[in-house]
Each structure stands twice: as structure tokens, then as C-alpha cells.
Subunit: 346 residues, 2 copies
């Protein structure tokens, strides 16, 4: 096959041998200057570098990977790249990986097990070093299947049941508590607009609410609890309309920013002022929060750290295998914090 020597657009695909010849050294020395510069004599190293420059040599990683059995490539699976939450995690993962010299293979799964599996098959074929997976709904079994493909994996945004591997998640109980405590200081009746408690995140945020209530000796029965099926702006607006028919809360905690925007909108439509009449706290601190008409006080999830930590846990696991150091799986939790804006000032 003639083309095999011309993958770089016409120019023949030279190899270490050519560089070695030009520099007057052996191929091993070329390989060493590339992979372990420190063990090569500076003078030789310079000569080799010059030759590389001169020939415009680009090492063929496929060959290296074949030889060493693994690639500096990590897979990233996210359910939805348009969602800013996942987009920010992706951003952080790309940045951290690239800093460590790894490429990132992205798969937008749409939370579809098939696409997830396809991507994993591809990663296995590429002999990727590992993968970072952000799964929305995967059950235990589905996760196990993923682990079986073999590459090391770090789970993001899932409360790891067992420490069968590393994981990074956000402490949503704490988030719920922070939001609730902030609102409780206002003294009036509290309302909570949440999603389906079947969703782990929602359940945890709810738990945080209850913790705060208990700590402040507030009767949970006195709190207006509302659940919507989908956590959208429209449903938020509808929820507040229904609430206002019977009650008049002084403060409302919405377990995501979309709901909060809807609630603020409904409140305004009802002639109520935010935050003067009713204070509102959202969750997620998405762009939506600050772009909102009245900028939202919201629970900020450390998405950057999430991504970075995921990469560093993965790298640690990889280094352990290579360097023989010990690696113990960890289930890390990151603390969110409350960002105070106009919808619920301090």
C-alpha cells in the first residue's frame, strides 16, 4: 500500500530511523530523547532535537501504543454537551487532560446505554488508558458492564454505591442545607419546589432541606413541598401559581435554576416582588442564574473541580499501575457553596 508511507499529506512518513541517521545516533537514542530526555547527554539530545526539527519528524503514536499496550488517550462520556453543567465538566476535563498530555475522546451519549457501550467498545479498541463517565440514570448493572470493558474508570456525579472504583460527586445534601438555612433566616413560611425524589440529586437536596429544618427546629409539616415531573421553567411557573392559590410563602427554595426562573416569573406576574415579598434560591448556578431578570441566589456546584478531580483520580490510578505505587479507590464528594445575588440577599 503506497499510501502507508504518506499519511502526512504527501511527505513520506519518516521514522526514528531517519532521524537517527541524520543525527548520527541509534534509534534507541532518538526514542530516549523523546521519552526520557533526562538520561540522554545534553549534547546528543540537542543533536537529535535538531534532526527532528530539520526533518519535521512526527512520532507515530500508533506504533508506540502497539509497543507499550496503551495510549495517552482518555474517554469522556457525557449525557448532553449542550447542558452547561456537563459542558463545564467537559471543559475542565479537556483542560486537565491536555495539561497531562492526554487526548480526550468525547462521546455524547444522550444517556443512551447503546451509545455508551459503542463508545466504550471504541475506547477498548483504541486501548484508551481510561475513561471518565458522567451518567444520568445508569443502574448498577449498567455501570458494572462498563467496568468490564477493562479500562479504568472514574464516575462523575453519581453517588458511588460501592467503591468498585473512583468517583466524584457533589454533596447535594449540603447544598440543600445551605440554601434552606439561608432562607430560614427570613422567618416566614418556606416553600420547596423539587423534582422527582426518584432522582438521587433531588432526594439528596430534599434531605439537606430536612436537615436544616431539624437543626432550626422547624416543623417539616409547616413547609410547603411541591414536586414537578420535569424541572423546567414552565413547570416552575405553574408550581408557584398553584402554591399562591392557597399559601403565601416568604421564601422559596427551588432545586434547580430553571424552576427558580419560572418561580420568579410567576411571582412577578402575580405582582409580588423578589426579593422584597418573596426570596428565591435556585440550584446549579448556571448562566441562567445570572442572566435572569432578577439575578438568582443559587447553589454553585464546583463543576471545574469535579472535572479536574476526575482526571487526577484517573491519572493516579494509571500511574499506580505503571509505577507500581499504591492506589486506593476513593468516592470523593465536593462541597457546593451558596452564591448570593439579588433574589435572596443576605
Amino acid at each position: 500500500m503506497a499510501r502507508s508511507r504518506e499519511s502526512r499529506r504527501g511527505r513520506p512518513d519518516l521514522g526514528v530511523a531517519a532521524v537517527a541517521r541524520l543525527a548520527g545516533v541509534s534509534t534507541a537514542t532518538v526514542s530516549n530523547t523523546l521519552n526520557r530526555p533526562e538520561i540522554v547527554a545534553p549534547a546528543t539530545r540537542d543533536r537529535v532535537m535538531a534532526a527532528i526539527e530539520e526533518l519535521d519528524f512526527v512520532p507515530n503514536r500508533a506504533a508506540g501504543a502497539l509497543r507499550t499496550g496503551s495510549n495517552r488517550l482518555i474517554g469522556l462520556v457525557v449525557p448532553d454537551i449542550v447542558n452547561p453543567f456537563y459542558a463545564e465538566i467537559t471543559d475542565a476535563v479537556c483542560a486537565a487532560s491536555s495539561r497531562a498530555g492526554y487526548a480526550v475522546s468525547l462521546c455524547v451519549s444522550g444517556d443512551d446505554p447503546d451509545r455508551e457501550r459503542n463508545h466504550f467498545a471504541a475506547l477498548a479498541e483504541l486501548r484508551a488508558a481510561g475513561a471518565i463517565v458522567v451518567t444520568l440514570s445508569a443502574d448498577h448493572q449498567r455501570l458494572e458492564r462498563l467496568r468490564l470493558v477493562g479500562s479504568h474508570l472514574v464516575l462523575v456525579d453519581r453517588r458511588a454505591s460501592v467503591s468498585e472504583g473512583c468517583s466524584v460527586a457533589i454533596d447535594d445534601v449540603l447544598g440543600g442545607r445551605l440554601a434552606t438555612e439561608h432562607l430560614l433566616r427570613l422567618g416566614g413560611p418556606l416553600a420547596v419546589v423539587n423534582g422527582d425524589l426518584g432522582i438521587p440529586q433531588c432526594a439528596e437536596r430534599d434531605e439537606g432541606v430536612r436537615e436544616a429544618l431539624a437543626a432550626h427546629e422547624v416543623d417539616p409539616e409547616s413547609v410547603i413541598m411541591r414536586h414537578v415531573s420535569e424541572m423546567t421553567i414552565d413547570n416552575g411557573q405553574q408550581a408557584i401559581e398553584e402554591i399562591l392559590e392557597a399559601d403565601r410563602p416568604r421564601a422559596i427554595f427551588c432545586t434547580n435554576d430553571q424552576l427558580a426562573v419560572g418561580v420568579v416569573r410567576g411571582l412577578s406576574a402575580a405582582g409580588l416582588s423578589v426579593p422584597d415579598d418573596v426570596a428565591v434560591v435556585g440550584y446549579g448556578d448556571l448562566p441562567l442564574a445570572w442572566e435572569s431578570l432578577v439575578p438568582l441566589t443559587s447553589v454553585k456546584q464546583p463543576k471545574n473541580e469535579l472535572g479536574e478531580l476526575a482526571v487526577s483520580l484517573l491519572l493516579d490510578e494509571l500511574d499506580a499501575e505503571t509505577g507500581g505505587t499504591e492506589h486506593t479507590h476513593q468516592a470523593r464528594r465536593l462541597s457546593p457553596e451558596l452564591v448570593i445575588r439579588e433574589s435572596a440577599p443576605s
Copy 2:
């Protein structure tokens, strides 16, 4: 190195040879079953498939790539993955690539030439088949440098100066004209809030405005033209405040949705109703547009098609090289369309 045979977590890394042995055929037949199933006798094929299944064999793509000189991998460079515009393009690119059996290596460049170059170097080392690049500000020279790395590339969202390669962009002149024509029908004074005309997209949208003006015989001098340095919500709000000091437009075209949201906000603050007193059209059709308090009429850019077309142009170019068919570079332009919502109804 003991590990080299254990890249898949403990299980030894079997190869075609093991499969061949189990199936009682030669390695060539295994390879054929994998790559050209149609030329293998169905019976043999089934036996091979069974053996593959049985052994849980995963072909090593690195070896194949080494042999054939290229990988089923395409690189994607975007300036900012959190921006929904680029996120949607990324989404489409991932989907289309994966459908074609290609993996996607993502690089978030931050529009930084260095990161861009790093990623390209990595892609070259991986012998990626090609790359899709969405560049914000790259000058001609920077693009040339990218092409030099050798892999085939498709440019997105840049008006390709010369047809040195394929490109896909949106016809922003048309977008500007559509928006303007829609507003012109209202008859009152028109205002345009745009960004720096040094940005090609802004310049084109401006040109579209002028085209529409000319077509309707409206004196460009009668139009209030305003330019902001950064196209943010805040600047939009400020722009409208300044405009209102001297004028009272009946319709406003903002060249992105952020500006439009700001303008709507400023209008409301001034006690003006949208769209009854003033109609507003945005550009981009981002989530922001429909999440806005008064949902924005906006120019929708076909981001999905952008991404898909980019992939298919790239694949065509690759196939041409492999299959010997002809490929002619094309600079495609996609037409935006106006999405009518409340801020400027029909």
C-alpha cells in the same frame, strides 16, 4: 514488560492468532471477517464470530493504524464548549462521526493558537484522519500553519477566503436581511445594535441590514446604528438606555441574543412594552432566546447541519483519498431562518 499483554485489566491481550486457532482458520481469515465480511464464506464467518465472542476479543486498533497508516479518528477544535453555539456544533459532529465509525478527539482551544497547535501536534502523532476546526479569530497565516500539519481539515464558521480546503459557514448576510425585513414591515424608526464590525460575523449581519434597507428604499441614515465592544446583556441594556435618550425606535435588531435580552430588559425598565411599543429581534436562537422573559424572535443558525455537513465534507475528502474518487474542495454556506416569537410577532 509483563503489562503489555494485559492492557485489558488482567485478561491477557489476545490477538487475531488466538481467535484463528479457536476457529480453526488462519489469521488472515479473521482479519477478513472483521474488515470485509462479504468475501468470507458465511459458515467460516460464523465460526470466526463465535470465536471472537467466546474469547471476548477486542481488535487492537493501534496495530491496525500502524499497519494502514491512519486511524478512524477525527479531531475537533472549538473555542469554547460552554457556549451553546459551539456545544451544539460539537454535538452534531460527535453524532455524525460516531455514526460513521469515527472517534472524536476534542480540544477546547479558548481561541488560543498555542492550545490549537498542541492539539494538532497530538492529532498528527495519532495519525488522525482529519480535523474540524471552529476558529474564532484565526488569521490566514494561522490557518495555513494548521493545514501544514497534514491532516485534512474542514473549517467551520469562517468565510473561507481561498478554497484551500473545505469550509462550512452560515450566511450571516442573509440572516441580517431576514431580521431587518421582518422589522421593516412595522414601519417605525429602526435601530440596530451590533458588535465590532471587525468581527466578520458582525460585518456580514450589518451588510444584510443594508441590503434589506436598500431593497425597501429606506435611507440608511435614518437608521440608528449602535456598536458595543462586547456583545453582552449588560451592554445591550446600556445601549438601549443611550438610544432612548435621543430617539424612540419602533423596532430593534440586535446581532446576538445576549444584546437582545439586554435591550428587552432596558425597554421594560423604561416602561416600554415589547413588542407593542418596540419590537426586538435577536440573533443565534440560543436557549437564552426562548428562556427570556418575553421569548425572543431570533435568527436561527442551523448548527446541527453545520456540524453534520462538516463531518460529511471531511469524510468525502478522506474517501476520495482512499477510494481514488475525486474530491473538490467546497466553501458551503448554510441559510439561517427567522424564528418568530413574542418579541416581534408577524
